[in-house]
Amino acid sequence: MVFRIGIDIGSTTVKVVVLGNNNEMLFSHYERHFSQVRTKTAEVLRMAKEIVGDAQVQAAVSGSAGFGVAKVTGLPFVQEVFATGEAVKRWYPGTDAVIELGGEDAKIIFITGGLEERMNGTCAGGTGAFIDQMATLLAVTPEGLDQLSLQYQKIYPIASRCGVFAKSDIQPLLNQGANKADIAMSIFQAVVNQTITGLAQGRRIQGQVAFLGGPLHFFKGLQQRFQETLGLSPEKALFPETGLFAVAMGTAASAEESAKPMDFQQLLTCIENSSGEMGGSRFLPPLFENQEEYDAFCRRHASATVPQVDIASYEGDAYLGIDSGSTTTKLVLIGEKGEILFTYYSSNKSNPVDVVREQLIRIRTLCEEGREHPIAIKGCVTTGYGEDLIKNAFAADAGIVETMAHYRAARFFNPKVDFILDIGGQDIKCFKVRNNSIDSIMLNEACSSGCGSFIETFARSMGYTAEEFSKVGLFSKHPVDLGSRCTVFMNSSVKQAQKDGAGVEDISAGLCMSVVKNAIYKVIRAHSAQELGEHIVVQGGTFYNDAVLRCFEQELGRDVIRPAIAGLMGAYGAALYGRDMGWQQSSLISLEQLRHFTHTAKPTVCGLCTNHCNLTVNLFSDGSRYISGNRCERPLGGKNREQLPNLYAFKLERVKKLSAQRNPDAPLGQIGIPLGLNMYENLPFWHAFLTTLGFDVVVSDVSTLEIYSKGRGSIPSDTACYPAKLIHGHIVNLLEKGVKAIFYPCMSYNFDEGKGDNHYNCPVVAYYPELLHANMAQLQEIDFMYPFLGVHRRHDFEKKAWQYLKQYYPSIRLSQVRKASAAAYAAYNAWGEEIRAKGEEIIQYCREKGRKMIVLAGRPYHVDPEINHGIDRLITQLGLAVLTEDSVAHLVEPQKVDVLNQWTYHTRLYNAAAYVARQKDMELVQLVSFGCGIDAITTDEVMAILEEKGRLYTQLKIDEINNLGAVRIRIRSLLGAMEERENTRRAAENQKASDLERQPVAVGVGR
């Protein structure tokens, strides 16, 4: 008898099966390998010894981490999707499609109707590992997550594209107090959406579907979501008991053909001896050569402390700062001189309100009970992600944006500080300081948010606490170079390093290095230490990790200061702010009230506009409530505040109005136009053109998440920008409206505004209709017209458009096209004129009223509310008027720039930046869609134009992500920086004024 053994070594687990002669399963076992790939594999194999004995075996290896093992041992390697296919053929006949989720891979195999095998792309990230990460985030085990999910009531939209995005959606939900069960199920739904979008790509998953792999085997909630989303009846959805082992089984079955028979002992030996080979991974120099070096390092950093005073012996007033961060809660109580009386730092266990309440009781008790002279808390200031929630819950005196809190703390600590880097759980923030005010603020983008919490989740997934994990890395001999892009990529790099035999210590050190490189090169974008300045203060919980600190110093080649309270700087800064406000009494609730304090959170959907924000209503014991998750002020109850002008809203209204102009009796019938990408600007042109020709123009509805969902099955490239991906939904929307013809021209060239070297559209805008044609089968059934037209050459345009259109509508005459074209150009020009006029009107209004303005510079399609997620309204809510780039770009001479200035839309950005740089009451905020390759070029240039004139540059990266938490912080930071600068300027002017010895000129200064 020859046994067949299949070994499946995935990213997280080892699975081994032994098959008998008739493919009957004699042994199966799986275990997490915690990156000890070879040891664990041998261990699991040894368990099979009892069954196999000394018989001959044929063994093959599969799985992402199995590749390396196969190479070294000489065992045959079976690609895992292929192995799954083999397994399905043998064990689950009659299956039409297979969905298999592994630790970090997702696969789909279509069997009936043409065999097709697909794996997730590199960006789509993990699945099993993703669920693990999310479980850690919710502070439950993966099994606990599953149990929670079964009690769900509602599902929140969570970005499904990649783990990092999803995390940015989940974290704020947690902080807002949303129900954990709902979040758990939403996580599973995100996995389902991702699988369907990323893998099925338009091909329908139907018939008998087998669900295989670990996550689908263990998580009932996930099974439920898949079944429901795909609309499968119970008998059509197959969740086989052996699903977990499908790859191993298929591998074993293939071993029959490919593997040489050998002794079982021989197999064991060859796996056990396979270690030691180092492959493609790259390694870095160690962090510390020896213990002495480490000790010296520790001594140096130990000197950076803040005086601490025992609260029991302290007499005087105190000020409290609460930093409710994304993953941790920090409290600091300080005395009048800034001395520390009390500190608290802990994970917020996904309910920050409870954590804060407990600590407030402790603090109040320490301050008030059993003391001769009670300490009076004169101010309480909150900051961080949960700033508003905590402030409302406990009636704190004020809330400040976290960037300002950090700056205040660092400045107190080192008055000469000129650079601050803060790496927290989810954010990286850095500020350059010049002339006592913040010169520029850089925050990480949604994409690179793999910061502190990333190391923590990773540590736990490998069976360590964050602290242990970082300690392990300190003396790694060969830290692995894991790259510096996003965490999903890091996961894969870790996988590779494990394959190459890297130990936990090497991975730990490597991860720390990645976090640091990410901060320096992605967020700060520094070339050298000189650029950062002389007095660098690093802070944030992540810097408690000595390995991270060391990496940072090594990479920078310079020593930095890490305050002993590195993780508490936000809270400390908030407390300092409270102290400097000079309040007489704090509004913070009393000890008695704290003891009776209760808090419940209820999710609800706002129905006040089409945005349908997911709100969380927090109810407190005193009957007050706090609503979070809102994007505008409406659900908070209408106070009639001044409506600030908003050109984004104006443009959207105009587009809507135009879309509503129909012509039901038109002789040529209906023609559809998808409202997205360049159509946001060209709609007036094409609407007038087609209406004049005699069409009834049907414009698709304004984007919503629902419209997006309808089309996302046919998106072939997941890394394209969100505005492009939305178009698929618009096509479906048009088809649902019953149009039989859609007009959406390809446009290499845009209108020539004469301001750049050329007037291209970007490749995605230019050619997306081609992609739609190739990927949306529905378009074959109607007249999908996507001619290449060049509106930059009017005369030729008319001829070419006519030649094209008459193929479909033979009755159209060239003279008609000429007339239509005249109307089109007129409409387009009038449109631009109207926007410019409106822009001037807004500027005039704001100047009269003394309002500040933000030029929200992006692309025409950023007007789409599903793309900008209401950022324009958020800005007006914060008290600033909103202008667009195209409303001010004409106000300056064409700019000289250091890049190839060849795209019409992008040229406007440079001009807008140059204009804003000369206006005292304007700031520029650039909207950048994730995946916009061209903005990698424009952002640097826009920043250079602004900084040349000493202005602030703020960039907001937007995607499918729906959460404005980070955006709010950025904009408030911008406001804070503007205020600081204003104050510094005023102080300087006052100084000057008093130097001039009370000359009458001084009157009015500081007004």
């Binding site: 590199t122 790259g483 590779q496 072939p716 030729d796 070419k800 250091d898 990698a936 640097d940």
Partner: protein, 454 residues
């Protein structure tokens, strides 16, 4: 795609260092490597025209690191690598920074790749090397910058064009021998020998250059055919994609070597196709958007001339009979009809789709479509067209692979292995079917089909 040194370019922020005519004697122009065979000959052309040059061959993880340090991290991978390779060379201490210049190719039109030269200048200025001149090599715009001491003259262009034709020929034959060679190193030896030979021929008089090269064709094919090769037929895998990651081993983690180690034969379409694509786009633009036809006469002549060159190579390989000739651009042009419009002209544009279709038509069903992560044109012409290609050619077995400084090799290789596993099964199936019919199975079917096309 003409890149004018327009007045609106260059603010005072980034001063431009000129490559003065005097520098021709004093400065070494460093050229980043892309295609090892072709670039050696192109470099030779520059040298014989009086420039001091050196091809950058530095490798290692530091290149990507330097790229990340010096270029916006969301810029495409080729920019990171090319600029990273230059910065790495600068920091190696091997060169006197006051005695070097950098060369960078400029292609892409509406694609952001057209901005590489500006990104390089910015990176140099930021690192304190603003005085190092950068020269652009751009075939579509001759003598673009009259002040520059670096001029691609018509005779030089003529020689470069021939280097590309020869490079394509050697690469095509090399790839068909290397996986099968019985004595490791034989193929490299033949290739190196011919690079040397061709360089010598390039040194001769320009007027007889074409003739002298053509005379070598039979001997080149024969030399490759004389390499002792295994008789087995391996799975042929086409490599298409963004030009840099498609060709450069640095960009695609040594894809060709990996494919060979996995028992496959790489099939890589030539560089001349890309040149022809650029030339053709000028003609297509006039047809799509209007304008004077006269202005495209030059392009049309050049187009016809270069296609003729390609045909000569194909003819020589076919005549000898041992190897599959490369595709001819004129056919590729026709094959893409019905898939994507030829108006898609940014980056590799329609050519990318066309190359996939061309490969399938010539019997190479297995294709790796390579692109930098987030490559804009490839969203459309690469990944965006795979579905349509598979629909019309059910035998197509295409895998799209993204390249990026953070992307792990394991992930990339795993996906390529999936494609290879599928290929192996299909190959087996084909053999079984063929046996059933009692016909001897012949690999490279479609070969005969090609004959009447070209």
């Amino acid at each position: 795609m003409a890149m004018k040194q327009n007045n609106s370019v260059q603010s005072a922020r980034v001063p431009v260092a000129q490559f003065t005519p005097e520098m021709k004697k004093t400065h070494t122009i460093l050229i980043p490597m892309m295609l090892p065979i072709h670039f050696e000959m192109i470099e030779h052309v520059l040298r014989k025209n009086g420039y001091r040059t050196e091809l950058l061959r530095n490798e290692g993880s530091n290149i990507a690191t330097e790229g990340l340090k010096n270029v916006h991290n969301d810029t495409c991978y080729p920019a990171l690598l090319v600029i990273g390779q230059m910065m790495d060379a600068l920091h190696s201490g091997k060169y006197d920074p006051h005695k070097i210049a950098f060369m960078i190719t400029q292609t892409g039109g509406g694609c952001r790749a057209s901005n590489y030269i500006y990104l390089l200048r910015k990176a140099l200025v930021k690192s304190g090397y603003g005085y190092i001149p950068v020269v652009a090599i751009n075939f579509a715009a001759l003598g673009n910058d009259s002040e520059s001491g670096f001029q691609i003259t018509i005779p030089m262009l003529y020689e470069i064009a021939h280097s590309i034709v020869m490079g394509d020929m050697l690469m095509c034959l090399h790839n068909q021998c290397r996986p099968y060679e019985l004595h490791p190193g034989d193929t490299d030896r033949v290739t190196n020998k011919w690079i040397g030979e061709i360089n010598r021929i390039l040194d001769g008089k320009a007027s007889t250059l074409a003739h002298r090269l053509l005379a070598c064709y039979p001997q080149i094919v024969k030399d490759y055919d004389n390499i002792h090769r295994a008789k087995e037929r391996k799975i042929r895998v086409g490599v298409v994609g963004e030009i840099y990651v498609k060709y450069s081993p640095l960009g695609n983690n040594n894809l060709e070597r990996f494919l060979i180690s996995e028992g496959a034969e790489p099939v890589v379409p030539g560089l001349m196709d890309f040149m022809l694509y650029c030339v053709y786009n000028g003609i297509e633009d006039q047809q799509l958007y209007g304008g004077s036809r006269k202005k495209t006469i030059g392009s049309q002549l050049l187009y016809r001339y270069l296609v003729g060159k390609q045909r000569q190579v194909i003819k020589a390989i076919r005549k000898q009979g041992s190897f599959n000739p490369p595709g001819c651009f004129a056919d590729t042009l026709e094959m893409v009809e019905g898939y994507i419009s030829k108006g898609v002209k940014m980056g590799e544009g329609w050519l990318l789709t066309a190359e996939m279709v061309e490969l399938i038509h010539s019997g190479v069903d297995n294709i790796v479509c390579t692109q930098p992560f987030g490559c804009l044109p490839n969203h459309i012409a690469g990944k965006g067209m795979i579905r349509a290609i598979k629909e019309k050619n059910p035998e197509a077995n295409i895998i799209a692979v993204d390249y990026d400084p953070g992307a792990s090799e394991v992930n990339q290789q795993n996906r390529i292995k999936l494609m290879l596993a599928t290929a192996a099964v299909r190959e087996k199936e084909k053999k079984r079917q063929a046996k059933k019919k009692g016909n001897a199975f012949r690999l490279g079917a479609g070969f005969s089909e090609r004959e009447w096309i070209c």
